[in-house]
């Protein structure tokens, strides 16, 4: 029971039971307490996940995957269910449940009085369950099942206010865009099974592929197809457009699903499949480039947005791009280092991005639902706690020295720079990406603090929707803010730069050990790189400074001199949605019109054919005369005829 696998199952089942309890509570008068099961379940799951983390830490090399449950077997293909507990999944579990707990506490206050209260918490529970399952999965069956599970929860929660057409459209958009990626994902899985001797367990699959190496192009293709899934789920270029729209959902959802956990599933997938990607450097450079393009693009679009949540959403997209940049270096440099960099950024990002979203939610809550930064300002005095915690999150995101984002961003820059310093064919590409990362870091600091100054500084300005209720949020909302702020400030410095605890622990994961053995890449020493640190400090402080100079007085939004055109471009999101509309949607509409005409033709044909059975039916209809004995008689006669046939056929 208290073996790691057993603990993992407990973590898995707790949110599920919370989901069921919340769902059933909607039938009882306890509706208003629907958030309690989720908070309790997530909290205890977080404790158990911490225990699990310690156990895995003790066991060193990792725990063997659970005993398989065979679903069915056909030929070589054995569909089995296994879960795995190693450093990677243990860290993810702890992170998900911990952040989830505080977001649930926050949501308990934020969603109070909403009419879909139990539904919200039921789906949240289901989401945490699916996310934990996704992290624990050791084969593609379970992985895909939970992958779709989190997609479903995301759909349900984005469309939570389903009466609003925009919310329903956003939910549909999110679902369809991720589906585009999932198509590639599934194809990649099938290809991998074929390459991997139809092993379904990930560890066996990777073993098999490493032992019998397939053609390079096949492997590259498989990796790219897998990456398609990650692109969809993690909102990378060109499929990132759903994530900003997904902000239609309630803010805690944005914090949990669209910032801290679900969107990182793609990063997790690539980290889990690191042994595979380490063997396909051509796929890796694509991963890095996609990450780089996304990071820069999203940061640029975030520059001039006016919707606070959208700014944060674009920032999430951009940060995910950072993680993919780091993942793309795996194989060129030591996979353990690259994956550690990405996972560490994922880890710290979960804290400060959840914090930022919750703080934005707190602002939105007290401003009566208004989220446009132009409509309020100087909230510093009105909401002191929210202001402070938002500042912590913003500093961490901007990479202010010694805060968590600073350390993890440095690791990513370091991994890119280390990739330049190898014999790979793509050193030039990696160097370009390094520059891109630097620019993005500067932009990040700028737009974060633009939002911060516009919201909290300058003359006090409160939208009339807020009425007289503009005040600090309740304690159930501020306490999670404080806890997460503490996390955003400290997790970085505690876990990595001096102790290297995080990288050592993660490096001990069996799959990473496996990956390390397969590439010629050398290890990267864990030492503090002064050059990178100082560059990033300069970039962060520069961005903050520019924002301070432009917006410290809040008030009307202004573009820096001579940059008005650029800002306009950014405000219009680079016209990406419009380009997609013209290039993809219009042709499809024409096609749909043609298809409809053709369909009408087919319909007429079908109606014509259907007259035949109608005619026959009218003819035999009187047989159904309702007399039981007539039916029995026809049955007996029918059986007699059948028996005659059988008897004369068989006994001849």
């Amino acid at each position: 029971m208290f073996e790691p696998i057993g603990l993992a199952l407990i973590v898995l089942l707790l949110p599920l039971s919370a989901c069921l309890l919340a769902a059933f509570s909607s039938l009882t008068p306890l509706k208003k307490l629907a958030h309690v099961p989720l908070i309790v379940a997530c909290g205890s799951a977080a404790v158990v996940a911490l225990l699990l983390l310690l156990k895995v830490l003790d066991s060193g090399a990792g725990v063997p995957p659970s005993k398989p449950i065979t679903w069915f077997a056909a030929g070589h293909l054995q569909a089995r269910f296994t879960i795995t507990v190693d450093a990677l999944s243990a860290i993810m579990l702890a992170m998900i449940t911990f952040v989830g707990t505080w977001i649930a506490v926050f949501a308990g206050g934020y969603m109070r009085g909403d009419k879909g209260f139990p539904r919200f918490f039921a789906v949240m529970g289901l989401f945490v369950f699916s996310m934990c399952g996704l992290v624990l999965a050791n084969n593609f069956f379970v992985l895909v099942a939970f992958w779709e599970g989190v997609g479903l929860c995301s759909y349900l929660l984005v469309g939570y206010y389903f009466e609003k057409p925009s919310a329903a459209a956003a939910a549909r958009k999110a679902f369809l865009y991720t589906r585009l990626g999932d198509t590639g994902f599934l194809l990649g899985i099938f290809l991998l099974w074929k390459l991997g001797g139809w092993h379904t367990d990930l560890n066996l699959l990777f073993d098999h592929i490493q032992r019998f190496q397939p053609d390079a192009w096949q492997l590259t293709l498989a990796c790219l197809l897998l990456f398609c899934g990650a692109v969809g789920k993690s909102a990378q270029f060109p499929l990132y457009v759903w994530l900003p729209d997904a902000m239609e959902g309630p803010t805690p959802v944005s914090a949990l699903i669209h910032a801290a956990t679900m969107v990182t599933a793609g990063v997790y997938l690539l980290a889990r499949c690191a042994p595979l990607f380490a063997m396909a450097p051509d796929a890796q450079i694509v991963v890095s480039w996609i990450g780089g393009i996304t990071a820069l693009l999203a940061a640029f679009i975030a520059l001039a947005q006016t919707d606070l949540k959208r700014i944060l959403a674009y920032s999430t997209v951009s940060q995910l791009g950072f993680m993919f940049m780091a993942l793309g270096t795996s194989g060129t440099i030591s996979p353990a280092f690259a994956v550690t960099a990405a996972m560490f950024h994922l880890f710290t990002h979960a804290f400060f991005k959840a914090l930022l979203f919750l703080a934005a939610g707190s602002v939105m809550h007290s401003m009566g639902g208004v989220i446009d930064v132009r409509q309020f300002g100087g909230l510093r005095k009105v909401m002191p706690t929210t202001h402070l915690t938002f500042l912590c999150g913003a500093l961490a995101l901007a990479g202010f020295p010694l805060l968590s984002g600073f350390w993890s961003k440095d690791l990513i820059l370091e991994s890119l720079l280390a990739a330049v310093d190898t014999e790979s064919h793509y050193t030039a590409g990696y160097f370009t990406l390094f520059l891109v990362a630097c620019v993005t870091a500067f932009l990040t600091a700028f737009y974060t603090f633009r939002a911060y100054f516009l919201t909290f500084w300058g003359p006090e300005k409160i939208p009339h929707e807020a009425g007289h209720h503009a005040h600090e949020s309740t304690r159930s909302m501020t306490i999670p803010l404080l806890i997460l702020a503490a996390g955003a400030l400290s997790v970085g410095i505690v876990l990595e730069p001096f102790t290297h605890w995080f990288s050592d622990f993660l490096g001990s994961a069996p799959s990473l050990m496996q990956a390390r053995g397969r590439t010629p890449a050398k290890d990267v020493a864990h030492h503090f790189n002064w050059i990178i640190a100082s560059v990033s400090v300069v970039l962060a402080l520069g961005g903050i400074g520019v924002a301070f100079a432009l917006y410290r007085n809040g008030g009307a939004e202004r573009a820096p001199a001579g940059m008005a055109k650029v800002f306009e471009l950014s405000r219009k999101k680079l016209y990406v949605d419009e380009i997609y509309g013209a290039a993809l949607v219009k042709p499809v509409e024409v096609l749909a019109f043609l298809a409809r005409v053709f369909d009408g033709f087919l319909d007429a044909l079908a109606r014509l054919i259907s007259t035949i059975p109608r005619f026959i039916g009218g003819w035999v209809r009187p047989i159904q005369n309702g007399l039981v004995q007539f039916y029995a008689l026809s049955m007996a006669l029918g059986v007699a005829v059948f028996l005659t046939f059988v008897v004369f056929r068989i006994t001849r």
Binding site: L627, A636, V647
Partner: protein
């Protein structure tokens, strides 16, 4: 006698079709009809149908000569079942029909007794005659109406219904005929049915087999002592051999195999199969006729029924097992002694002997065995049947409780 120039199958088919047609006519005349019925004609047709059927039975399955008592009882009970069944179908008054059904059940129970099923006989009488029919009579009493009524004085499609039912019967009988061709008595035998009286296993054979099983069990214990050293092992094997040879000879008398005359021990028991004289064994002597059929199918059985076939097959299995048992023991006690394997070989022989002994005629006193089988092999099914009964009771109460509105 041109009729007999037809092939056997055509004859049987003609008989059956004739009987079925007569049955249809009889039932058509006898079933309730608002225009009145022609009773004597119907009865005559039915009797004619029965006569044709009996003649077919006699032609197909031979004259039922021996075992006069059994035959008479069978005829009595089956005639009772069929006659009362007919009465049930053609009787206008449902209460009388219920009584006729009671007699059908009683006749069936007689057949059950003939088939060695005393417990089922008792259970059927109690449940059907005792419980079901009485409740039906109660319902009839509640719903009894005076005078002619639609439900009692009309029948639905008597001709088609009779045709469907009798087509069914005719087909089944025809199938029986076709599948029983192999079981037809040999026409060369002088007294065609006498061999059927032969028991598949005589009481003496049963006794011998029981003794052999006991002795084998004792012989198995001889393998228990310590077998760690070579000498101990040889001693053990020798002791076993001394006991096993008489057992084997005894068994050979029953099931056949190689037999060594007493007092002439062969040099080596393992070579016995080549040294001994070959015997058939009493079971095969009695049941297997050595003459070869003209069709060349190999030896025919005296009693060509399933039971005899099963017994011969089983005795062959025992013989084959005993031919290899000693070798298996010897191998197991040789290098790398494996006592469990040796004991398992002996135990297998014992089990086969017991199975052969148990495969004889089903004794009439099988109620204990029936209980054992029910509560060991079919325990879950018994539980389910009990649950089903409970659910039925609840359902019946729920249905009957609802108050309907008469229109």
């Amino acid at each position: 006698m041109n009729l007999f120039a037809l092939s056997q199958t055509q004859q049987a088919g003609g008989h059956i079709a004739l009987a079925a047609l007569l049955g249809v006519v009889g039932f058509f005349l006898l079933l309730p009809n608002p225009r009145g019925r022609f009773v004597p004609g119907g009865i005559a047709a039915l009797i004619a149908s029965a006569a044709v059927l009996v003649s077919w039975l006699v032609i197909t399955f031979g004259k039922p000569v021996p075992d006069l008592v059994g035959t008479i009882l069978f005829v009595f009970f089956s005639a009772g079942a069929l006659v009362f069944g007919t009465v049930l179908v053609v009787q206008k008054n449902p209460a009388r029909g219920a009584i006729a059904f009671a007699f059908v059940v009683l006749s069936t129970c007689g057949l059950f007794l003939l088939l060695a099923a005393p417990f089922l006989m008792a259970a059927t009488i109690i449940i059907y005659a005792g419980a079901i029919i009485v409740t039906f009579l109660f319902v009839l009493m509640l719903s009894h109406a005076e005078g002619p009524s639609d439900e009692n004085d009309r029948s639905r499609e008597p001709l088609y219904g009779g045709f469907a039912g009798f087509a069914f019967v005719g087909l089944i009988l025809f199938t029986l005929h076709q599948t029983s061709l192999g079981a037809k008595p040999d026409e060369n035998t002088l007294v065609p049915q006498s061999h059927l009286l032969l028991p598949v296993i005589t009481p003496e054979e049963r006794k011998s087999l029981g003794e052999i099983a006991t002795r084998l069990e004792e012989a198995e214990k001889l393998l228990d002592p310590d077998i760690s050293t070579n000498t101990a092992r040889n001693d053990c094997l020798e002791a076993f051999e001394k006991v096993y040879l008489p057992i084997k000879n005894h068994l050979t008398l029953v099931v056949g195999g190689a037999h060594v005359p007493d007092g002439v021990p062969p040099p080596n028991l393992s070579e016995l199969e080549t040294f001994g004289t070959f015997r058939n064994g009493s079971i095969r002597d009695r049941l297997v006729k050595l003459s070869v059929k003209p069709s060349g199918d190999g030896p025919a059985l005296f009693r060509e029924d399933e039971q005899a076939r099963a017994i011969v097959k089983r005795s062959t299995i025992v013989r084959e097992t005993q031919a290899t048992t000693y070798k298996a023991v010897q191998r197991a006690m040789g290098e790398n002694p494996d006592r469990d394997a040796a004991k398992a070989a002996v135990r297998q022989l014992r089990d086969e002997v017991l199975l052969l002994r148990g495969a004889s005629d089903l004794p009439a006193s099988n109620v204990r065995n029936l209980g054992l089988v029910l509560y060991s092999e079919h325990l879950l099914a018994i539980e389910l049947a009990g649950t089903l009964l409970l659910v039925a009771v609840i359902g019946a109460i729920a249905i009957a409780h609802r108050k309907g509105v008469a229109k």
